[in-house]
Subunit: 110 residues, 2 copies
Amino acid sequence: MLNDLQLDKVFHALAHPWRRWILGLLLDREASVQEFAAALPISLTAVGKHVNLLEGYGLIRTRKEGRNRLCSVEPGALLAAERWLRNAMWSRYRPRLGSLPEDLTLLRLR
Amino acid sequence: MLNDLQLDKVFHALAHPWRRWILGLLLDREASVQEFAAALPISLTAVGKHVNLLEGYGLIRTRKEGRNRLCSVEPGALLAAERWLRNAMWSRYRPRLGSLPEDLTLLRLR
DNA sequence: GCGATAGTGAACCATTTGGTTCACTATTGC
DNA sequence: GCAATAGTGAACCAAATGGTTCACTATCGC
């Protein structure tokens, strides 16, 4: 279970479109920093910083393979964030759902 | 469905412990800015700013009742964030789950 | 009517963020 | 061996973040 400080980091990491894009790619397969930079409109240096942040905050792992830095996803952090959200809504909001309007059509929690 | 720019905002809003705390309380019941300030170690002004951010980013609604500003949760944004996370993991990571280690014990996706 | 309470607005401040460029190292492939 | 590729580190910069204090307005309760 992640503590508050770690949740700060996970949500902060997710609060940027290019970091979400990188994570999306890594959920499919491993990839290098260069691959990200080729697709994103920022410099390789900037991409490197995003990767550093993702790794420092525990959302990905990286390893050096030759001159490439290969990244892979570390699912625990994402799962913890998802669980925090789901748990917050379940344990508190859910009991009131009967009295609430059409927001509920969004609820797919089985 | 929220677009990238709105997801940025939702995740950014969640990336602060006091904003998560405020949301947690609001998932139970309505509350005023003053109530938050009484429990948090920051000034009423600072709390007001967090509330402004949460409202501006669409996570809560507020209405003025007398001298109080009553806040209530706007569940759509939270649901969208939760769905983005769940969907990212489902549609991409899930297919590989068979080949993955004990991370999976965390997976409660049914 | 008046003091206490709830909230806002403005000004200010330090730190973080997200980006750049330039210089550099290390590896690859011909 | 050498040019091209992948990445890092340092310096720099503008804007955003998260907080403060002080002054102010509006409402409440006696």
